[in-house]
Symmetry: C2
Subunit: 298 residues, 2 copies
Amino acid sequence: MTFAARSFSIRMMEIARDIADARKIVRAARSEGRRITFVPTMGALHLAHVSLMHAAKGGDSFLVVSIFVNPTQFGPNEDFEEYPRDEAHDLTACEQAGVDLVFLPSTDAMYPSDSATTVRVDKLTDTLCGARRPGHFDGVATVVTKLFNIIQPDAAYFGRKDAQQLAVISRMTRDLDMPIEIVGCPTVREEDGLAVSSRNAYLNQQERRQATCLYRSLNKAMNMIESERTDADAIIDAMRRIIDEAGPATVDYISIVDPASMQPVKRIDRGVLVALAVRIGPTRLIDNIEVDPRPVSR
Amino acid sequence: MTFAARSFSIRMMEIARDIADARKIVRAARSEGRRITFVPTMGALHLAHVSLMHAAKGGDSFLVVSIFVNPTQFGPNEDFEEYPRDEAHDLTACEQAGVDLVFLPSTDAMYPSDSATTVRVDKLTDTLCGARRPGHFDGVATVVTKLFNIIQPDAAYFGRKDAQQLAVISRMTRDLDMPIEIVGCPTVREEDGLAVSSRNAYLNQQERRQATCLYRSLNKAMNMIESERTDADAIIDAMRRIIDEAGPATVDYISIVDPASMQPVKRIDRGVLVALAVRIGPTRLIDNIEVDPRPVSR
């Protein structure tokens, strides 16, 4: 009995901390004709990241995950220092998800002291989180541009939980003619509906229970819109009542916006994005849902 | 007598007006293993552009020239409408220079009506032309990023006459991790020293004679610095006298700056960039020279 000659290899996950190393590894994969897919993250990897990795894996794609807690997208009073970091956990999660390359750059490599360049997306960023976190989306757009230029992926995957971020990156990619497909993936939720987020780790037990109010308020909005309620302010009021009844919290915003422009919609006569940001204790949580009004029967 | 079999082909210059067509033609060249070189221009091609093309040609490089009068780098009171345009002349110049692809996008293709993204380089842009032309370098950085992403060249060529532009593009390319070599090429001058520029076409005969005062003042600065004069203000005064004596003109700026940071230098103890912008009649001309002080004898 003979075996046909067949070459195969099991490759280990590669890890690059230098920009030059990352480029070299990706170049080698591309020269083998593999499609390069990319999931940029800030680490603290959880189920939602893993679902992005699964979406990006498949076929002969070479999957790159970056882990970089980007300082320029945090405001001066935000949680850059506290943001959870656990490299060993993250590398295990990547390996289990079949990642081919993890890119772990240092802050110094990403931002030399005389860095002077910013990528800015206007219009989409003057509402929702953009209005509350000045400079946040400049930081996101700039670091994503850098990561895109280092990895040069064919496709990059982002979660829809960060809906405004996805809109900003999609517009930026188109505006700057980056030859990259931007893929938005569904929000991953816990059993009780809470959107999975690295910041959920900040919640104590009571806050964690309370935090379901975000998803419950979004469901309320969906039900009202599907019941042909068209007055955005009335829907927002109903959502706010659910938040208020759940316990002490600060509503950062509750907004109903056009999903393309991120601008407020007063009368709901088309698909909308219902989005909110709520502080429970010191923890700021965001969530959103896209809803289409039911087709009007004539 | 036999001839060795030898395959060769003479290719015609290609012209792409669509972004997708340009990408396709460049991709085909890259798949043949050719190095992609790129000279972005606003057309009105002259000797200085041709010298960039010659620098970018050579070896097996596939030379792309873009011609696009970029509206976003002109201020509201600047010469966007009057800027010289002559496509037939430009295409002939490209063909004679051995260009492989001319990319001629429309303004609508480059800037869809909901464009929202700007690339901004700070620090380097608050002096010289950056201080006098608000938004100019945002427009330059944004369109060059777009063109780089469309053509994806290995190297791009820019003239040193636009020294601040070259510094901005070099910094931007590094800051955003674009895998592109930026090559600065020497200023091309007429016999009497006037830097070749598309805007020289605006000058009448008398203004054209007067315009040599820019180069003469730069030579004066070079002589003073090489004679160990270190007081920047005194050098600037001497330059200004040469401009004033040549006829009626408005000095926009005369500056001596650090070539890396573009920030003013008071005491010349290292290599400097001497730069000026002067209006002769309605025409704004710029020029510059890099000078190293003579090594001090001990």
